[in-house]
């Protein structure tokens, strides 16, 4: 026990609690039974607690106003390039399942084995650590196990997040909720109203009979950008002339962009690539795809 009867401290407690030891269930003791500077829960202590709570609440409200809750694009099961990410407090287990000995053939170790032992031990902690001693430095096994688990969880969470950031950077992906907010701001600035993904109005094609469109079909641009360039796995090219200049379009077609858009110039794509004239033809036509011209 933390405080034996021989303790030389001023106040001697019964057992490890201020509730007096007795037979069976005791009625709540009178205030005078409590030593030290105790105070009534209601209203004295609750008032102080509420004041601290109000400070927390104000900080919390400031956070909600400064950082709106994120919302990405509507769920699209066909989206193959999305990097799945659970909420931050599941990252440690998400990362754990990425290691060799906790995935594939050994996945049972990752899903049941390690978390089962860790959480099972946590759940049954009072029955595993049955000593009377309460101070953490007097029960080194329990404390050090907890400490190691803590460090491991923090490390796994950090690695997982770091890895996610790296992947985003490598593939040039902007998280959807950020991209969406930017598009929303642009859309409102341009006087088109709020941007609601999946509910945008499609801009009509300008000069759909232009031979450049046929060149694009033959070059398999439509495989990703949609048969009518309305967008599929790749982005829509309707009204692309509002966003990109002809020179930028030539550069993207010739050299590709990010991981999704391959290079079509002969320098990178080899002999099957497009000639400079064809690229020029396509870029010219695409740069004419403007929302104002489509109306």
């Amino acid at each position: 026990m933390a405080h034996g009867p021989k303790s030389d401290e001023k106040i001697v407690y019964v057992g490890d609690s201020r509730i007096r030891k007795g037979k069976g269930i005791q009625p709540p003791p009178d205030y005078s039974a409590f030593p030290g500077k105790s105070e009534a829960f209601i209203p004295n202590f609750l008032l102080k607690e509420w004041m601290a709570g109000v400070v927390v609440l104000v900080g919390f409200l400031v956070l909600t106003i400064a950082e709106p809750a994120p919302l990405g694009y509507p769920a699209d099961p066909m989206n193959g390039s999305f990097i799945p990410m659970p909420d931050w407090y599941f990252l440690f287990i998400y990362q754990l399942l990425k290691y060799h000995y906790t995935s594939e053939n050994y996945v049972v170790l990752g899903t049941i084995g390690i978390p089962g032992i860790a959480f099972g031990a946590l759940l049954l902690a009072p029955f595993l650590d049955t000593g009377k001693e309460r101070r953490f430095y007097r029960r080194p096994i329990a404390s050090s196990l907890m400490f190691v688990s803590l460090v491991a969880s923090v490390y796994l969470t950090w690695v997982s997040w770091h890895h996610y950031q790296e992947e985003l950077e490598k593939s040039g992906i902007v998280p959807e909720h950020i991209e969406r907010e930017e598009k929303n701001r642009e859309s409102i600035e341009q006087g088109k109203g709020r941007f609601i993904p999946g509910r945008e109005k499609l801009v009509a094609l300008v000069n759909p009979d232009d031979p450049a469109f046929n060149v694009m079909k033959e070059a398999q641009c439509v495989a990703c950008h949609g048969a009518e360039l309305e967008g599929a796995n790749g982005p829509s090219l309707r009204g692309i002339g509002d966003k990109l200049s002809k020179e930028e379009l030539v550069d993207i077609i010739t050299n590709g962009k990010n991981e999704g858009m391959p290079a079509f110039g002969k320098a990178k794509a080899g002999e099957s690539g497009l000639s400079d004239e064809q690229i020029d033809q396509i870029a010219t036509w695409l740069s004419e795809q403007k929302a104002a011209a489509a109306e």
């Binding site: 500077k37 105070e39 009534a40 607690e49 709570g53 769920a75 909420d87 287990i93 899903t111 907890m146």
Partner: protein
């Protein structure tokens, strides 16, 4: 006037002893930050409950606008976030509160662990507390799907694959949670029901047990 109303009720139901059991108790010196500042570590449990109350209230307001079907879920959240007065704040509170409640609960768990407060006679309260922890994680997991954006969808898909990899019963767990073989319309309504009815019901029951035990046994004494 309130006094006479209270007396009127008290004469008939004798509520004073009940009130005494619930609220009228002492706060010992060693957990009171006014006397020992380091005692602020004893506040995390109360703060967890405070945030939980915020979660319940904000969640109740969210269900006024949220529609749990795969066509409208996303657009109802979008509407709630951008069109409804104070919608962004209520949703923000629920979103950030979900993280905050995990943080507070985690700190509360660490306090109880490192002060050895789970020892006899409080073993049962620790076990109930851990069950609350798991219910909270379940609430986090099911709530994550509800906005029905890509992040929600693919995280749940991964979660289902993890559940499916459990030996023997994995397939059944997966199908029970998803309401079929794919993450789809059934999954969304099911997660909504679990998030809004099943788990909160379980949570409130466990919280009642948690508080009953702490009142019965008192706060663990000083180290």
């Amino acid at each position: 006037m309130f006094k006479s109303m209270y007396n009127w009720i008290d004469e008939r139901l004798d509520v004073t002893p009940m009130w005494r059991d619930i609220a009228d108790h002492e706060v010992p010196e060693h957990v009171n930050p006014a006397h020992h500042f380091s005692a602020f570590v004893y506040c995390f449990g109360g703060l967890t409950f405070f945030i939980t109350v915020i979660q319940i209230l904000s969640g109740m307001f969210l269900t006024m606008y949220y529609v749990p079907d795969i066509i409208n879920a996303y657009y109802s959240v979008d509407y709630l976030q951008h069109q409804v007065a104070f919608g962004a704040i209520v949703r923000g509170m629920h979103h950030w509160g979900a993280s905050l409640v995990i943080v507070m609960m985690f700190l509360h768990t660490l306090r109880v662990f490192f002060t050895g407060s789970y020892k006899a006679p409080r073993e049962m309260n620790w076990v109930v507390g851990m069950l609350i922890f798991f219910v909270m994680l379940g609430l986090g997991f099911t709530g994550y799907l509800l906005p029905w954006d890509n992040k929600a969808y693919f995280a749940t898909k991964v979660g289902m694959e993890i559940a499916g990899s459990v030996p023997w019963i994995g397939g059944y767990i997966k199908e029970l949670l998803a309401g079929g073989t794919i993450v789809g319309a059934q999954t969304l309504t099911r997660f909504f029901a679990i998030h809004v009815f099943f788990l909160p019901g379980l949570l409130l029951t466990l919280l009642a047990a948690h508080f009953f035990m702490i009142r019965k046994q008192g706060i663990s004494g000083p180290l």
